[in-house]
């Protein structure tokens, strides 16, 4: 009854939603590398421009996208403060002991903060526009070459997708057990740590038993459907590339080129 949506997938039908998950994964990796290749604001500006385009094309509400930065606000402030206080520069405003506030320090901390924000925004764009299932498929497909060094990629992928499949089921189960024990007067809000740990047992034991029972039944159901380890399986879902993926690759290439150019020709840091 209660809807358990996991991850932060935002359902919509957009250019980005339709991209091949492998392309999106590789794009994200390229984007992260490029952010660190960029050594000046021009480079970051190129990255930001591409990211803004991505956000606009994704049809995910901008407010929702920006909210993903909220999680790292503390980290941002902390690193910025460190850099402002301790980064040594030429134009010094204030100095006492090891504390040194300089123009360069301020600029550098702004630069770092921007990098971090871009990084977080781009990765959350991947999770906003890709279902966990598609992500698993993408990872599996990208890891396929490892099969040649005897990594059981297929089995690992199956484990991952079953885990994903059971997240909503187990969340629901947890909720149900928690409610049942609450109704019997369980107190989960105690401040006392020992009491808190003790309070978890009435949830943990039934949940564990339930998970084991589920594993058992699922195992039977899989076996009954002809699954045995080592069986030579085929795969129904095959990821296929479309013109959209080509566009994405081109954008990616342009991004890399753009950032490299800014670094070479507008070289001055910051």
């Amino acid at each position: 009854m209660k809807d358990v949506s996991f991850g932060q997938y935002y359902p919509a039908d957009s250019f980005l939603h339709r991209l091949d998950p492998r392309v999106k994964l590789l794009f994200l990796i390229a984007f992260i590398v490029v952010i660190f290749v960029a050594t000046n604001f021009y480079g970051l500006a190129v990255c930001a421009a591409v990211l803004i385009a991505i956000i606009l094309f994704s049809r995910v509400p901008v407010g929702k996208v920006l909210r993903s930065v909220r999680g790292i606000v503390f980290l941002l402030l902390f690193t910025a403060a460190l850099n402002v206080l301790f980064h040594k520069g030429d134009t010094v405003y204030y100095q006492k002991g090891i504390i040194c506030i300089s123009l360069e320090g301020i600029i550098f901390s702004v630069f770092l903060a921007l990098r971090l924000v871009l990084l977080v925004l781009c990765s959350s764009m991947l999770t906003y526009t890709t279902t966990p299932v598609a992500l698993t498929d993408g990872v599996e497909s990208l890891l396929t070459p490892l099969k040649w060094i005897f990594v059981p990629v297929h089995a690992l992928a199956l484990i991952m997708s079953i885990a994903l499949r059971f997240i909503p089921t187990l969340t629901e189960e947890t909720e149900r057990i928690k409610n049942a024990q609450l109704a019997r007067g369980a107190n989960f809000e105690s401040r006392n740590l020992i009491k808190k740990i003790g309070a978890v047992i009435p949830i943990l034991v039934p949940l564990l038993l339930s998970a084991l029972r589920k594993a058992d039944e699922l195992g039977d159901a899989m076996e009954a459907r002809c699954y045995t380890s080592g069986v030579k399986r085929t795969k129904y879902k095959k990821l296929t590339l479309t013109w959209r993926d080509l566009v994405a690759v081109l954008v990616c290439a342009a991004l890399i080129a753009g950032v490299v150019l800014t670094r070479v020709f507008l070289g001055a840091p910051y």
Binding site: P11, N179, A183, R184, G185, A186, N187, L209, S210
Partner: protein
């Protein structure tokens, strides 16, 4: 304890693409002493309603961060939800929800899956200890557990030291119910208490509920899909449909409206089907839709015969 609900609404995952209204302006009163049935499809809002009764789902106005809505110009405020259980006002922030949960016991679906302790005694004692004022003595606890086990038909000396996980399915369910009634709640709510049981197990559970209604809990509220059970057992039943209450009537009146229930995609008891069939054939039978009453009323119409004999054992869940 009288239960009064007015203008109750609830939405799961509000303000998200998955928002789903589970209750829409529901008003319902359950009198003290009733054996009350709640009927409806999965997703009709019946479970959501029931979870309000012991504060597992809270009214917005009972939450800390609640702000009173302000009336817009020219528009009166929509009626505010009201929910009282006996003297508990569930719309109030200051209500003692722990005390409420002690008075309103709740047995969830498949309650045997919530057992966790090493022995039956410990599991049944869990709720008792949680709700006790101060720390109860071992004697007090044991006495309460003994009484609760006896109430569900299990012998303390045989079962108290056993692991609940070694019992049969039906026994586990009894232990789980004992774990709820051990605090002697005035209201007992059960969600599908007979789900997954075989016919015999079903009949035993219904008999148990009647016993609890007589001896332990003043009010019993049962969520059930089984219309025959509702017709046989309940003083009154509410029909939930798409988040609203379509009707709340005694079975005698409710199942006279069999056509409306069918239109909602719900079953009707066999006796109601038969009465409707007889009605179409010009025979109006004024029965209360229990099997016994139906049989009696039909036989009253039968051409007189001397050799009438009493019937054999009742069928599943049948109450004489």
């Amino acid at each position: 304890m009288r239960i009064v609900a007015e203008h109750l609404s609830y939405t799961y995952n509000p303000k998200s693409p998955f928002a789903a209204a589970a209750l829409k302006d529901v008003s319902l009163t359950i009198e003290e002493g009733e054996f009350f049935g709640i009927i409806g499809h999965t997703g009709s809002g019946k479970s959501t309603f029931v979870q309000h009764l012991n504060g597992l789902i809270r009214l917005p106005s009972s939450l800390k961060r609640y702000k009173k809505p302000k009336a817009k110009k020219g528009q009166p405020l929509p009626p505010q939800p009201v929910l009282t259980v006996g003297t508990f006002d569930l719309a109030d922030k200051k209500t003692d929800f722990r005390a409420l949960r002690k008075s309103v016991g709740m047995v969830f679906q498949y309650p045997e899956y919530q057992l966790f302790a090493e022995t039956v005694r410990d599991d049944v004692a869990f709720g008792f200890k949680n709700f006790a004022d101060g720390k109860p003595t071992k004697e007090e606890t044991d006495a309460a557990v003994r009484a609760a086990l006896a109430a569900v038909g299990l012998d303390y000396d045989t079962y108290a030291e056993q692991s609940p996980f070694d019992l049969s399915g039906g026994q586990k369910r009894r232990v789980a119910i004992a774990g709820v009634i051990v605090t002697r709640p005035e209201v007992l709510v059960l969600d599908e208490p007979a789900a997954g049981l075989d016919p015999l197990g079903k009949r035993e559970v219904m008999e148990l509920l009647h016993k609890l209604h007589r001896e332990w809990c003043k009010t019993v509220i049962v969520v059930s899909h089984d219309m025959d059970e509702i017709a046989e057992n309940c003083t009154r039943a509410a029909v939930f449909s798409e988040g609203t209450v379509a009707a709340a009537l005694p079975p005698r009146e409710l199942f006279r409206r069999a056509d409306e229930l069918t239109a909602l995609g719900l079953d009707v008891p066999l006796t109601a089907k038969l009465c409707a069939g007889l009605m179409r054939r010009g025979i109006a039978l004024d029965c209360d839709f229990t099997t016994e009453d139906f049989i009696r009323k039909v036989l009253e119409r039968a051409p007189r015969r001397a050799d009438r004999e009493p019937g054999a054992l009742p069928p599943e869940g049948g109450e004489a």
